[in-house]
Symmetry: C2
Subunit: 184 residues, 2 copies
């Protein structure tokens, strides 16, 4: 028997791969059991319902996604480079083979109307992303509005890359960001 902590990790890994890759409603609890190797009983002990597993999936992904972005952007030499590095990071992300857009936009479109918990988690994620870009632009001595504008560009690049299957929107967004940054 595996430890509860390991079981929880395996479940969350399986849930993330499946929910993100195929859509939440397209994945049954039984499939998460097979993919994780954790029995249904344990699964329901750790996550009493599918809804709670969805929330755990989204919360963990929110933290990890923003941490990876910040680790990349914060390691740049200057504040301006940090701002532009956001779009380089997006380009790397878009190129990953299992990239399928923003997990929060996707889950909002799928469940936002029927689950206020999902809607709220998606809202919190976007708000945190906007806040982070506001910090970056503030560090570069630019007005707060620039952060919003760049966030909109990034958001548009994410959904466009997902639907068209191309990483190019990251470069286009970066070019636009350069113009806005220089003008601000």
């Amino acid at each position: 028997m595996i430890s509860p902590e390991t079981a929880e990790l395996r479940i969350l890994d399986a849930a993330e791969t499946l929910f993100y890759g195929r859509g939440i409603q397209a994945v049954g609890m039984d499939e998460i059991r097979s993919a994780s190797g954790v029995s249904l009983k344990r699964l329901y002990q750790l996550f009493p319902s599918k809804g709670e597993l969805i929330q755990a999936y989204l919360r963990r992904r929110d933290v990890r996604w923003r941490q990876k972005l910040a680790a990349y952007a914060d390691s740049q030499a200057t504040p301006e480079e940090s701002v532009l590095a956001v779009f380089d990071w997006l380009h790397e992300w878009f190129g990953e083979p299992d990239f399928r857009g923003c997990a929060f936009s996707n889950s909002f479109g799928e469940l936002g109307a029927t689950s206020s918990a999902v809607a709220e988690t998606a809202r919190a994620h976007k708000e945190a992303f906007f806040r982070y870009l506001a910090e970056l632009t503030a560090a570069a001595g630019k007005p707060a509005s620039l952060g919003d504008h760049l966030a909109l560009l990034a958001e548009g690049a994410i959904t466009t890359a997902a639907i068209t299957g191309s990483a190019e929107p990251a470069h286009q967004a970066k070019a636009a960001a350069r113009v806005l940054l220089a003008a601000a």
Copy 2:
């Protein structure tokens, strides 16, 4: 008994309201029957499966959405105003009480991974939108890249407005568009 044409319209109206408002998988064929007042038998005569109804819903919405946008933007006095009017139109759309984001982004997030037909329809919609913005910027004598940049802004504004429930992203996107337009 109602005519087949009327039945088809009623079904498509009911499907659009329900699919868009609550998500496609959250709506059963029985609910479309109740909302449209058309019997299940007729429904399946006109749309042999739910998948075909989904496609009909998306195709009709694509045409109408782009027509409404073009009608608004094309009635402006100058090419520059047409370009910026796109964002005014978005602001009006975001303010509608049943606004819930882009039907194509939502359906892509929900079904894009399992239905290549949905994925392709979403892709075609985005491509047509990008092409339209390219026409507008070309008419204003601006480079093609500006069209892409503005489309990314609009795209980001749509998903941000949907998730945050605010129409404000349209104004932010317009402000950014003004800068890009002036610099291009």
